[in-house]
């Protein structure tokens, strides 16, 4: 049985990964999951300098979902390399940092340094964070800005490059196609959907940044639709995510066309879930007599 997945020159041992933003730097999750047994760990969105993130309220539960406004709090590149990466390497995790800087220049610098850093297996370029005022989603919703950033990132990135797309556009597949044309090795989708919470007692937005990112089972049908649409347009692998909580959800994304999947919000509820899903996927393949995931990938398109 072959559960492996290729992303450019990188091979993941299985398609179950943990998504940036709900995987910390691997160490927190490693209390609950053997992070060497899952496909990859996408670490928290990184900037050159440490970033404090947003003040005030940062998270609130919604019906079957979560709104967050963390604002890319992170330790910065130096501390990531010195203090966080060694643990990931020692644990045997496939490590994919998420690059999420304010400016094109800073993103390029991060890609350039990280792709030459031993222990980094691929880079996920985040053009889709809805929770920062500068950069973030602005990179992923304007085709000109997107093109310029991805072109430059590709130029300086020698390791596999994954572009994390924003669902907050009319036609996400056209962004995926552009990424493929430029030479990205994969796309990941979806980042959170733009949402909002208003506190009716204070009559004000709940979050200081007013808007926030929605994730969790509530967004899953939207994410499945988006992965399905991207698959119709591109040949590069898709890392699908959005509300995946159980093995049925994993299979739905693979059948929509995802090569790998990421577990995000579900890790907040069941920190051990990604490890369990890797095992359950093998059980499913055995039961169904499937030897390679290629047999079911994109199955929903063959009608």
């Amino acid at each position: 049985m072959d559960t492996s997945v290729k992303i450019g020159s990188l091979t993941l041992k299985n398609p179950i990964t943990v998504a940036s933003g709900t995987a910390g730097y691997g160490e927190e999750l490693s209390r609950f999951v053997d992070i060497s047994k899952i496909g990859a760990v996408f670490t928290k969105g990184l900037s050159m300098k440490p970033r404090r993130g947003n003040p005030g309220n940062r998270i609130i539960e919604t019906p079957s979902g979560v709104l967050n406004s963390i604002g890319l709090e992170n330790v910065g590149l130096d501390e990531f390399i010195e203090k966080k990466l060694p643990f990931l390497v020692k644990s045997g995790a496939v490590t994919i940092p998420n690059v999420a800087a304010h400016s094109v220049e800073e993103n390029i610098e991060l890609c350039s340094i990280l792709s030459k850093t031993p222990g980094i297996d691929a880079i996920e370029l985040n053009v889709s964070c809805p929770n920062v005022k500068q950069g973030g989603m602005a990179f992923g919703t304007d085709m000109c800005v997107f093109t310029e950033l991805v072109e430059q990132a590709r130029e300086v990135t020698s390791c596999p490059l994954i572009i994390k797309l924003s669902p907050n556009v009319t036609d996400i597949a056209s962004f995926a196609l552009r990424a493929e044309e430029i030479g990205a090795d994969a796309v990941s989708a979806i980042n959170t959907l733009l949402g909002m919470k208003i506190d009716i007692k204070s009559r004000r937005p709940h979050f200081a940044n007013k808007v926030a990112g929605l994730s969790g089972p509530a967004v899953r049908p939207v994410a499945v639709r988006i992965v399905y649409q991207i698959y119709q347009k591109v040949k590069i692998p898709i890392v699908g995510m959005g509300g995946i909580s159980n093995i049925e959800d994993v299979l739905e994304f693979i059948m929509a066309g995802a090569s790998a999947v990421s577990i995000g919000t579900a890790s907040m509820v069941e920190p051990a879930v990604s490890g369990k899903l890797a095992g359950q996927l093998e059980d499913y393949m055995k039961k169904e007599g499937i030897s390679s995931l290629d047999e079911i990938r994109g199955a929903a398109h063959r009608v």
């Binding site: 933003g21 995987a23 927190e28 404090r52 940062r58 998270i59 609130i60 079957s64 890790s267 920190p271």
Partner: protein, 251 residues
């Protein structure tokens, strides 16, 4: 695997006690449990509760009913429950001589087990139990028998002294005999307790803010301190009270 041993018991207005059997490693006072309310997706997130008491493999937690999640929990049938525990760092327990504990509302919950452990460690324990009113007081007898001095204050005067502890018992809180003060409750109460504490006293506070994951991965529960942001769930919930920047506490 954790087992809820009986239906949650009503112990005060809006407050229920859960008695749970679990495979426990040693539990430190101030640590918490994180319980799923259902195996579906709504409510989605776990609900965190501080550990009220621990005795071998049996723990107790106090739930204040504030919404749908806690309403579901307080009606749970005995049997298996989905709980992560113990989580968080816990209070410092050592022989410091004279210590003071100040609890407010459901924030009294983590202080019973702490009081017991502090007594065991040889401390003389004074306790100020703050509550909105008589009907909201839980565990009074247990607290009384666990400590050396016990004082109740209620907002409405229906039990003990009338008013906020940080006003009517300010002289107790600021007494220079205390080398350590531990507090858990509403932010304004904890902030004032820190301000009233004699400068020589170490003050540990247990913060209660909105948790996403409870295990340090989502960075949703940050507290601003003079050392920068820390995560209440894994760097706390017990923090050095003098380092907290209270005006930046989330709602």
């Amino acid at each position: 695997m954790a087992q809820l041993l009986s239906m949650p018991q009503l112990v005060a207005k809006d407050h229920y006690m859960m008695t749970i059997k679990m495979d426990c490693p040693s539990i430190r006072p101030g640590q918490f449990v994180n319980i799923r309310t259902n195996e579906g997706t709504d409510p989605l997130l776990r609900r965190p509760f501080s550990i009220y008491d621990a005795d071998g493999s049996i723990i107790r937690v106090v739930i204040r009913v504030i919404g749908r999640g806690t309403e579901i929990l307080c009606r749970m049938e005995p049997g298996e429950i989905n709980m992560l525990a113990p989580l968080g760092n816990g209070f410092t327990v050592e022989n410091a001589g004279e210590v003071l504990l100040v609890g407010g509302g459901v924030g009294n919950a983590p202080l019973l087990y702490l009081a017991k452990e502090l007594k065991k460690a040889g401390n003389r324990v004074t306790y100020i139990y703050c509550s909105r009113g008589k009907n909201y007081i839980f565990g009074e007898d247990e607290f009384r028998s666990a400590v050396d001095e016990f004082l109740i204050t209620t907002d409405d005067g229906s039990a003990g002294l009338r008013g906020f502890a940080t006003e009517v018992a300010a002289h107790v809180i600021s007494d220079i005999k205390f080398s350590r003060i531990y507090t858990c409750g509403p932010d304004p109460m904890m902030e004032k307790t820190v301000k009233l504490a004699n400068p020589g006293a170490k003050v540990e506070v247990s913060v209660e803010n909105y948790f996403g994951c409870g295990v340090g991965i989502c960075v949703g529960c940050t507290v601003d301190t003079t050392d920068g942001y820390v995560r209440a769930c894994v760097d706390g919930p017990v923090l050095d009270g003098r380092k907290i920047i209270w005006k930046n506490m989330p709602d």
